[in-house]
Symmetry: C2
Subunit: 142 residues, 2 copies
Amino acid sequence: MKPRVMSREECKELLSAARFGRLGLSADDVPYVVPISYIYAEEKIYLHSGRHGKKVEMAKVNPRVCFEVDVLEGRSWKSVLALGRASLSEDMEVKEKVFDLFMRGKMGGHGGQAFSRKDLEKMPLCVWEIEIEEISGREGMW
Amino acid sequence: MKPRVMSREECKELLSAARFGRLGLSADDVPYVVPISYIYAEEKIYLHSGRHGKKVEMAKVNPRVCFEVDVLEGRSWKSVLALGRASLSEDMEVKEKVFDLFMRGKMGGHGGQAFSRKDLEKMPLCVWEIEIEEISGREGMW
């Protein structure tokens, strides 16, 4: 069966419903994919990570990233790919905003626990905002 | 909790056990990620796809690809990333070999049905062999 192209609304619904996806990066044309929790809000994808590490270094070299979410149920599958640009920040206001979004999405911090401003200040974190430029999705049967 | 680095053997076990992963590609430093069924055999990753389409065109431009497999169970996660080079082929012998691997992995064709040489000859397919150059895996709790 030929896969069906999902509408933009269907793509957004899947992005809104899921909590885990895969971030795709590329530096010097070497691709890299890493699973990560996220929140989709205000038509953007928000992530948080450590301040260093491979994905952070790659995004600094090349902020053009993609974000993939898929659902497999029995033989039917759906997948959405968003292509965009990542902005990384360690600013307290941005950190608070993103943690607030994670909290509202029942994904605050690790294991759903809340963090105070004081906790956040101490944590060596960086938050990601991915501005989506293109979005596409397909569904089918394997 | 800090994630733990998985041993090479643990990475191979996860690659052997799973049947779906995500192929990461890059062309002109624009990353692309697509979910796909696969078989891990002889220390290589085998896929099949249509003869055309975005992933095929990208792999022709830049055969350097990665393949990601993850498992999420409750709050614990594991993920493996293999980095390598893809060779695409439409040769009948290679197609048969790959379909045989998929059949043995209970993933023959679509929905597990077998294909004869005649069927295979008619199908507009290309098979992918990814030679793994680097493999790494981590596990942790989110």
